[in-house]
Amino acid sequence: MSDLKFTKDHEWVRVEGNIATFGITEHAQDQLGDIVFVELPSVGAAFAQGDEAAVVESVKAASEVYAPVSGEVTEINGELEGNPGLVNKEAQGGGWFVKLAMSEPAELKGLMSEAEYQAFLAESV
């Protein structure tokens, strides 16, 4: 089991100090299929938890990606511009989307552990 946290909208978060790195889950990339474009926010943009922070475009459709916690964008994954398929290959690693400087770290308590997320997936099938 990883130390990642998960949302019901199928984002994952990894926390290092005050920085939250997030992307979409392995389950989400599998459901979306071949990803052809990722629209990322600008560095410096501020989001409240649950705000639309990015858009992922698969061959089939566009899907919103929501900020799992509140904060300000410190870095975006520039590699996704030329290689959006990295999200399919390494959704919960190299295919990360955004790093946020958290403004409300207490929000993390409301997110799911990996075990809880797997249970959530099993229920929602």
């Binding site: 199928h10 989400a28 299929g33 071949d34 474009f37 475009e57 061959v59 089939k60 459709a61």
Partner: protein, 378 residues
């Protein structure tokens, strides 16, 4: 990723549903049917496989309607009131693409019409799944009572599409070697009685095979036993037809669009243009004379971001001038591809417009269709 809300109890299945599941398909609702959107390899791999080898598609949800009349001239004259194609001149074994035209000149559905080689006074129609009930009612309402209309729900339909389709079918049925695009013949394929047409909706060479529903699983499995053939779902069927510049009913054409606006005027021959003897001909005549107000065009969004069905098209002054009717990512083009309607004055290839995605204009160039050249066998 919200799914289309559908009551699963009302969804219909094709005779291949169980096989699709065994093959690992992801099933989704489409036109009232539970259909495979993709198999395990995914849409892009299935798309590329169809363009380079052979894809096998279940299109059994489509409507197969048989019309019967006293003889070909009688039946053709009756059907020609409903469609603007040359049906009277359709020779045995030939297929025509055409449209049912509404009284207002819009398109009720688009369809293929085949005159079988053997029977006299029979035509076989293939119509869209989403429209078959409407089409059947339209036919019954508008054909003379002596013409029989039979929706063949006992038949299945599969499409074998790709540049190596002949290599796959040839050893099983050598006479297919001489079958040209938009022609058809009955016969036996792997011991199964079929009606085989050289046609399809991917832009590639290939076949569409109609057969008894009870036998389709055996044929599908037989064809899949060839390493050159893989199953392909509706997801890739959509990207393939979009790259080929082919219309999807309900998106690119509907009862508000006319054949001339949609760029389908090529399917209406001179005799029908002069006679104007079909339902809805007055709008057609007016558009022939004055030109249509808008035209369906190819759209090449610049950059990598796809534009989708329903997105607004704006001119460079910011005025909304039309809508995207189909859009997505073209795996063979390796870029976003789309189609939509723009005013006739802005339909020239090279015209620059903006397509609005999430509030932002995406510079887009009006282009010729298809995006990927057709490779039909002439």
């Amino acid at each position: 990723m919200p799914a289309e809300p559908v009551d699963p109890a009302t969804l219909r299945q094709t005779p291949l549903a169980a096989l699709h599941r065994r093959l690992g398909a992801r099933m989704v609702p489409f036109a009232g049917y539970e259909m495979p959107v993709q198999y395990q390899t995914g849409i892009v791999a299935e798309h590329v496989w169809t363009r380079t080898s052979v894809g096998l598609f279940d299109v059994s949800h489509m409507g197969q309607i048989v019309l019967g009349g006293a003889d070909h001239p009688t039946l053709a004259a009756a059907l020609e009131r409903l469609v603007p194609a040359d049906i009277a001149g359709l020779e045995p074994g030939r297929i025509r693409y055409t449209q049912f035209i509404a009284s207002n000149g819009g398109i009720i559905d688009d369809l293929m019409v085949t005159r079988p080689t053997a029977e006299q006074g029979t035509l076989m129609l293939v119509v869209n799944a989403s429209r078959k009930a409407i089409d059947e009612a339209w036919l019954r309402e508008n054909l003379p009572p002596e013409i029989t209309v039979t929706l063949r729900e006992d038949r299945a339909l599969v499409a074998l599409q790709g540049p190596r389709a002949q290599e796959v079918i040839g050893p099983l049925w050598p006479a297919t070697q001489n079958l040209g695009f938009m022609t058809a013949m009955p016969g036996s394929l792997a011991g199964i009685d079929v009606h085989l047409a050289r046609s399809g909706y991917t832009g590639e060479d290939g076949f569409e095979i109609s057969l008894a529903a009870a036998e389709v699983e055996a044929l599908f499995e037989k064809l899949l036993s060839d390493d050159r053939v893989r199953p392909v779902g509706l997801g890739a069927r959509d990207t393939l037809r979009l790259e080929a510049g082919l219309c999807l009913y309900g998106q690119d054409i509907d009862e508000s669009t006319s054949p001339i606006e949609a760029g389908l005027g090529w399917s209406i021959p001179a005799r029908r243009r002069q006679a104007l003897d079909f339902i809805g001909a007055s709008r057609f005549a007016q558009e022939l004379e004055e030109g249509p107000a808008r035209r369906r065009v190819g759209l090449a969004p610049q950059g990598r971001m796809p534009v989708r069905h329903g997105a607004e098209i704006r001119d460079t002054d910011g005025n909304v001038v039309g809508l995207v009717t189909s859009g997505g990512f073209g795996p063979t083009v390796d870029a976003p591809v789309a189609m939509g309607y723009v005013p006739a004055g802005q339909a020239a290839p090279g015209t620059v417009v903006d397509v609005v995605v999430r509030g932002k204009p995406v510079p887009t160039v009006v282009t010729r269709l298809p995006f990927v050249p057709h490779r039909y066998r002439r």
